[in-house]
Symmetry: C2
Subunit: 133 residues, 2 copies
Amino acid sequence: MEKEFTIQEVAHVTGLSGYTLPYYERIGLLDPIDRANSGHRRYGAADLEWIQFLIYLRATGMSIRQMHQCAELKRGGDATRRERLVFLEEHRERVQEQMIKLEEYLANVDKKIHDLQVSLAGDDLLKPAENLL
Amino acid sequence: MEKEFTIQEVAHVTGLSGYTLPYYERIGLLDPIDRANSGHRRYGAADLEWIQFLIYLRATGMSIRQMHQCAELKRGGDATRRERLVFLEEHRERVQEQMIKLEEYLANVDKKIHDLQVSLAGDDLLKPAENLL
DNA sequence: CCTTGACTTAAAGTATGCTCTAAGTTATAT
DNA sequence: ATATAACTTAGAGCATACTTTAAGTCAAGG
């Protein structure tokens, strides 16, 4: 028998909120989750795995819209594997470009940090000189 | 005489829109920009430099709220240099941590890419075999 | 002179991604 | 039995960061 998890448990282990999980389901990022007789959601291991993958996509800056595309491809099964591969490779490429740009921008912030450090060091040299008066 | 630029020119060189520039001014990221007799904005070189710096902060993920804090510190002049330095160093630290996490998440996407590649390569091995029937 | 285009403002609207509310149902512990 | 906690839904609300609109001003060319 497949282990099943409550929404609370899934929220806890994934870090997503108890609001976000039904939200993701509603907008089609998750297939309809199985229910207990009570009507309460029972997430399976496969659901957890897919949610974790969604988190990786999200954390690498993918939009909900694109994640939805990705979910649709997954629904296409094996037939869409090639398409999914291309999709993920393109995403990967965009993220890497973004990381390179991020490093460039950060280098500019670093330059400002350096300027401030120099400016403050200059003060430290002047202050003792003032003591000579 | 200091060279001055129209909003259109500044929008062009910075990549910000003609909407965003007055917006940044309104919310206090930019000091009030000098005006021509007509009332039209005339940006100076110092404005351009500051705008470019804002762009670096933004591009490294700083929120408008934090950029506003930074603008306030700048208004404090030399007295706030030490504070500004700390502020930027903290930002730098956060960005670097975020970049490390981003790499981790991307590695997980890569794993999925790899799985798909393997899966598809498996198909390619099977197909020629089918030709033997 | 008058049209065209660039500019001004305050305020409303948009896109994204959640997050919360309200009203009701179900499960659990005493 | 009953209080409490966890869950359900549709739909409203919120935070962020712009973006657009509307109504009006100003400057330059024909």
